[in-house]
């Protein structure tokens, strides 16, 4: 097991490091990339296991179908590229060849969101969580930091037999988990307890949500609960509803469109089981833009200050009278009807 990181580091490095560990532990693990092996860090696996590494060049569709063929013949392929190509460019290949066949393929989607920065809108994928969440049989993981990402990748080998989409980021981001967590669990971790408002965040927005909670506590005397939703699908609804039942209002934060992603996953659960206001912070009906990663995040308000602003608006609209939650069947797949 690798050592936990303490200094800021990109989650994509966890993909590369964990992939090597998986290669050592399991002979059937193979990796594919599409000429971005240095960026996605799959190069580490490629150097260590050249026979089990296939660089497909800038041909992501072909890469995903090759992953399908490899998995259908008993291998466990990890296929990586930028999120925009790993989901959008090759959607049909992932859909039929991988998801429909329920094959054990893991997609490592790096450079998710606008924080990849300078390359701009063409490369800033802000709808992949929505695409992959809608795809039947596909599970979606968005780890919060290096340490959780490492755990997610190592566990991905045995977590499920069905396909997984894992989203990583380009920039170095602060560490949220002091250790490499023992497990990814059901994918929803309460990182800070609070009674006034629930923050649901994933990926790069988790550390910002913790910072926002700090600000609210010191400036407004508001106790925000912070939940890291690393597994966006299937959503562990029980943890989500428990928090909303306690606080009565929520704010979601993601580096992604507010449509179809984390926001809608939380809202779907809330609407069915505990209808309270849930406000979304994310990308609105707009594409990304060129700039440094941090400047892009600031441009679109994807910051701790952005979460604080959204929380203050939300608190004004928080219902005064609360009612008990309508608990569903627990960790059902998002979009599944509640148990009757």
């Amino acid at each position: 097991m690798a050592e936990a990181k303490t200094d800021p580091i990109a989650t994509r490095h966890a993909y590369g490091d964990a992939l090597v560990a998986l290669g050592e532990a399991h002979e059937d693990v193979v990796a594919l990339d599409a000429d971005l092996a240095v960026s996605t860090q799959s190069i580490k696996f490629g150097k260590k296991f050249p026979d089990r590494f296939f660089n497909c060049g800038a041909a992501e569709a072909g890469m995903m179908s090759m992953a399908c063929g490899l998995a259908a013949t008993g291998k466990v392929p990890y296929a990586s590229s930028f999120a925009v190509f790993a989901s959008g460019r090759s959607y049909d290949q992932v859909r039929l060849g991988i998801a429909h066949n329920e094959l054990k393929v893991r997609i490592g989607a790096s450079h998710g969101g606008v924080s990849l920065g300078e390359d701009g809108a063409s490369h800033q994928m802000i709808e992949d969580i929505a695409l992959m969440r809608a795809m039947p049989k596909m599970q979606v993981i968005v780890p919060a930091d290096y340490n959780q990402a490492y755990r997610a990748v190592v566990d991905s080998y045995e977590r499920i037999e069905e396909p997984l989409y894992m989203r990583f980021g380009r920039p170095s981001t602060p560490i949220v988990y002091g250790e490499i967590p023992e497990t990814l669990g059901d994918g929803v971790d309460v990182l800070r307890e609070g009674k006034d408002i629930s923050f649901f965040a994933c990926g790069h927005m988790v550390w910002r949500a913790l910072e926002a909670a700090e600000t609210l506590a010191s400036e407004d005397g508001v106790e925000a609960e912070v939940l890291n939703v690393a597994v966006v699908k299937p959503l562990a609804t029980e943890a989500v509803i428990d928090s909303l039942a306690k606080t009565g209002v929520g704010v979601t934060a993601e580096e992604h469109r507010v449509t179809g992603g984390l926001a809608d996953a939380i809202r779907e659960a809330a609407a069915e089981q505990h209808p309270v206001p849930v406000f979304a912070l994310g990308m609105n009906d707009e594409f990304g833009i060129s700039g440094t990663g941090e400047a892009c995040m600031e441009h679109f308000g994807l910051t701790a200050a952005g979460i604080v602003d959204r929380a203050r608006e939300a608190l004004l609209l928080k219902p005064i009278v609360s009612h008990p939650p309508i608990h569903g069947s627990g960790a059902s797949g998002s979009g599944a009807p509640p148990a009757r």
Binding site: V30, S65, G69, A72, Q93
Partner: protein, 305 residues
């Protein structure tokens, strides 16, 4: 060119028999009859696309493929991928005739409760290696299978045969797969193109000319030949030759869509359209007459090569 020896893995029961060319032609007729019957009942599907591939599929399943219906996941088996998944009926007919599932299942094609989906489904139908139906994906899937076989030390044992349509050759991803096969130097891949020149909206020349497909594969670094896709002797010879090559092999088969049914053969307008009751009867009459003729010739001792 260096040739690799043809391996002789543990033979399955079926591999023991080796049908003659005349017998293979008869089997192709049987597969065609099955397709017409299936489509007449299903009232949906791609009949003419299945018929153009009948001779190729018969050559594969009855002679060239090393497979064992009693052990569909025998690791040393050859793989067949129907890249042109819309021709599923022809593969289903071959699988049923070989006992992968009961023949009567064929009549459930495209119906709720049947395992025979509109396009091949690896998780439902025994003998289907991988699900297909979205054109362009199959060849890259075949490359992935070849790479896995290489890691398992089986690349000189198991051959992977992909059957593509001209529509597949219009899809860009097919050429990603072609490039990958050459780059990774897979020696056990045979891409068979059922080049019937007809697609949904017209002839391939009118819709989007696929041009010299043989030359295209050659330019991608493949061994590439063109044959008559209804000449059983040529098909068998080309399939066997492809197995001995140390590079991926393309067999561009010039075929006629709807082959074997006169009113449909090489005619535009039947793609994805099931036969009417009258059309099915007419087609069956012609094919059954052909079968009787073939039976007679074989009985008279014309089956030798």
């Amino acid at each position: 060119m260096h040739l690799k020896p043809v391996p002789d893995p543990e033979a399955s029961a079926l591999a023991a028999q080796e049908p003659s060319i005349a017998e293979l032609e008869r089997y192709a007729t049987i597969l065609r009859i099955n397709c017409v019957r299936m489509l007449a009942v299903a009232k949906s599907g791609h009949l003419d696309s299945s018929l153009s591939a009948a001779d190729i599929v018969a050559a594969l399943y009855y002679r060239e493929l090393r497979h064992d219906p009693t052990k569909p996941d025998w690791p040393q088996r050859d793989r067949f991928v129907l890249c042109k998944g819309h021709a599923a009926p022809i593969q289903y007919a071959a699988l049923a005739e070989h006992g992968y599932f009961p023949r009567q299942d064929l009549m459930g094609l495209r119906k709720i409760g049947s395992h025979l989906q509109g396009h091949p489904d690896m998780n439902r139908t025994p003998g289907v290696e991988v699900s297909t139906g979205s054109l362009g994906q199959g060849l890259s899937m075949c490359v992935g299978i070849c790479l896995a076989l290489r890691l398992d030390g089986l690349q000189d044992t198991a051959q992977v045969f992909g059957l593509l349509s001209d529509g597949d050759c219009q899809e860009g991803e097919t050429w990603e797969g072609a490039a990958a096969a050459a780059h990774f130097e897979v020696p056990n891949l045979t891409a068979i193109v059922d080049y019937n020149h007809l697609q949904t909206d017209g002839t391939t020349e009118e819709v989007q000319d696929t041009g010299d497909v043989r030359a295209k594969f050659e330019a991608f670094g493949w061994d590439s030949i063109e044959i008559d896709g209804h000449d059983m002797e040529a098909i068998v010879e080309a399939l066997q030759r492809s197995r001995t090559l140390r590079k991926p092999a393309a067999l561009v088969c010039q075929t006629k869509k709807g082959r074997g049914v006169s009113f449909m053969e090489d005619r535009f307008g039947f793609h994805g359209k099931p036969p009417s009751q009258e059309q099915a009867e007419e087609a069956l009459e012609e094919l059954e007459a052909k079968l009787a003729e073939q039976d007679e010739a074989l009985a008279a001792g014309g089956g030798g090569e």
